[in-house]
Amino acid sequence: MDFNFTSEQQLLQESVERFIQDEYDFDTRRKLAGSDDGFSRDNWAKFAELGWLGVSFSEDDGGFGGGPVDTMIVMEAFGKGLVTEPYLPTVVLAGGLVSRHGSDAQKADIIPRIVEGELMMAFAFAEPHGRFNLADLHTTATADGGGYVISGHKAVVYGAACAGKIIVSARTGGDVRDSDGVSLFIVDGDADGLSRRDYRTVDGLRASEVTLDNVRVGADAVLGPVGGALPLIEEAIDYGTVAVCAEAVGAMKVLHDATHEYLKTRQQFGQPIGKFQVLQHRMVDMFINYEEAKSMALMATLRVDDEPAVRAQAVSAAKVQIGKSGRFVGQESVQLHGGMGMTDELNVGSYFKRLTMIEVLFGNTDYHLNKYAAA
């Protein structure tokens, strides 16, 4: 048992945390979230320069050979800054899928360009009526000549607007919700027949409804086994879930500290409100919730490389804890800040909104509780 970071990991943590502290204050983040792209391409270039875009990829593929712990370090710090750059869709979701299951040609084409900051990507896995079931797919891919023709509607695809390539899940066989017959395709963001409706999300990010209308791709666009990609998708979503658990821990830390400070400084009835026992106990519960969330995010991070059954159960357990803790810490931070917590100007509301959406992302608390119980 060892809870220590390696010296490389310590350096990584110092550099990401320093960037958040020095260059990603709340006003900067607000401006970025309101800009056309919703993030900064200069920051993205900086992430590449500092090696953060390649940290999780193997050295053979052009990365720096890190693992889930390195991703956790980056995501936790990004959670503290509410970073809007599309790290999760590009590096964790799409990049992770390609690095684990791409052909040599796909890896050689994609991974170095992600690492260099030249290619952003998105993962279009959800559909309008599928809720959190990854196999509930109406999008179809029909074999045609040497390639495929894809048609369907993918819902709430984060990072699609800036993505040079989008990984799309579609049915090459089987009925809706069958485990078999699911395939993955790497589709160009500007492919003929692909259209997007881009929009802002409540937590300051950008997502799109992506419609595919007879989009033609070659056989080389298939990622992983034809008809057998569901386990790959589940695995990718588990990696994504672990990453957002770490992000949530970072966000909770900021809320915890801000509320703690507010209780010590806000005066009512002639004393700091933190002197009232009822508020002390609420603060204590926020603290406990944060510690539990951190523990569970770490647990899932350390098990996500295990065999699928172990991985899935650990991830669901962590997501349930993060959902509950995030909700408690988010809501109590607003409540304990009183009217100030309701303002758009103070950072508290933005962290609360991100935690609210993280609870939904990759399956909400109910979904993961059921999944854990059924395993």
Binding site: G130, V156, T201, E209, V334, G349, S350, F352, V360
Partner: protein
């Protein structure tokens, strides 16, 4: 004991229902249902329609333009209004300062202020909270100093809902700095067009503009705008806070929202079936509905004692606590029901004339807006922490 309504009460319900079917503009009902923040003119329009019928202030005494309805009739009226998705009228004139004016005001004040409140011609706002005085309201510092026939007001109010709509503010000001903090407070009516008043918007986490900061810089307020006696403002403020507390529970609106939640969850798919068939989700909807029943019965008991001539007591804090918690539970379930479509959020969606296709189901974004703004309900009107203190002290004697 009997839970059924009398024949007369049922006939009354029919009358209200027919009126709403005939007179409630459907565009206003759709906005209310969708969880949008209404524009001033939306609220004013509905106020005018109710006023033309004589129903804009059901609780006021008849001599001032009220209806003379019993509390049970008022309850039925509220229930029917909620059921038809009628907009909520601005409470600051009709439910708050109006009763203060007809109870403590002079004849001149009654004649001047009450009729345009009834008609919706003048909008009011409430100048209570200050940056340093939230839960500890009695510590307020906004000063009013007598100078000839005027008070000169200097200070800073915050969280002032609808100040940007308001023609008038009822304001707690400090006229005396000696003695207990509660003793030096007076209740002033301030014309919002007076020189020296500046209203600054506060945007809330849902992206809307409902609340404001209001700054007073040597604002002259005629002495005749003082309600009652100087230094008695705290008494009037407490009277106002205890008024119409049975309505603060929001039972009728929550009942309607639960029906909406069931409709939405019935339409949402999970594994090809309705979300309402999911046991854990359905159980939580059932729990919310049971809390609502407990709240409704508690409000009805409080109503019955009001009917018997007893004024609302500190029990109203129960209604405020549970009512606000329940609203938050319901909006949380509404957001949860829509899954990933809780995310898309474009403020233009709420503007008049927006007619693009909604992203995802049309109810999704309004649910999120309600969920976010609704976090304030456990903070405003005396935070739930303060309400619990009231129960601990006033009811339990702790």
């Amino acid at each position: 004991m009997d839970l059924t309504f009398t024949e007369d009460e049922q006939a009354f319900r029919e009358t209200v229902r027919r009126f709403l079917a005939d007179e409630l503009p459907q565009d206003l009902a759709r906005k209310t249902e969708g969880g949008w923040h209404l524009e001033k003119e939306d609220v004013a329009r509905w106020n005018r329609i109710l006023h033309a019928k004589g129903w804009s202030a059901p609780a006021w005494p008849e001599e001032y333009g009220g209806t003379g309805w019993s509390p049970v009739q008022r309850y039925i009226f509220n229930e029917e209004c909620a059921d038809a998705w009628a907009p909520i009228l601005s409470p600051f004139g009709l439910s708050m300062v109006g009763p203060v004016i007809y109870t403590f005001g002079s004849d001149e004040q009654k004649a001047k202020y009450l009729p345009p409140i009834l008609s919706g011609e003048t909008f009011w706002c409430q100048g209570y909270s200050e940056p340093g005085s939230g839960s500890d309201l009695a510590s307020l510092k906004t000063r009013a100093v007598r100078d000839g026939g005027d008070y000169v007001v200097n200070g800073h109010k915050i969280w002032t809902t609808q100040a940007h709509w308001a023609d008038m503010m009822f304001c707690l000001v400090r006229t005396d700095t000696e003695g207990k903090p509660q003793q030096g407070i007076s209740f002033l009516l301030i014309d919002m067009t007076s020189p020296g008043i500046q209203v600054k918007p506060i945007i809330t986490i849902d992206g809307s503009h409902s609340v404001n900061e209001v700054f007073f810089d040597d604002v002259r307020v005629p002495v005749e705008n003082l309600i009652g006696q100087e230094g008695m403002g705290w008494t009037y403020a407490k009277f106002l806070l205890g008024h119409e507390r049975t309505l603060i529970a929001g039972v009728s609106v929550s009942k309607k929202r639960i029906a909406q939640l069931k409709r939405i969850a019935g339409a949402e798919r999970q594994n090809g079936a309705s979300l309402l068939e999911d046991t854990s989700f359905r159980n939580r909807v059932a729990e919310a509905e049971i809390s609502l029943q407990a709240l409704e019965m508690t409000s009805l008991r409080s109503l019955a004692s009001e009917n018997a001539g007893k004024g609302p007591g500190p029990e109203s804090s129960i209604l405020k606590i549970r009512g606000s918690e329940l609203q938050q539970t319901i909006s949380g379930l509404l957001v949860e029901a829509v899954g990933y479509y809780a995310g898309p959020y474009e403020l233009e969606r709420f503007e008049d004339g927006w007619n693009e296709e909604p992203i995802g189901p049309d109810y999704a974004q309004g649910s999120m807006a309600m969920h976010l703004y609704g976090r304030a309900s456990t903070i405003y009107g005396g935070s739930n922490e303060i309400q619990r203190n009231v129960i601990a002290k006033m009811i339990l004697g702790l």
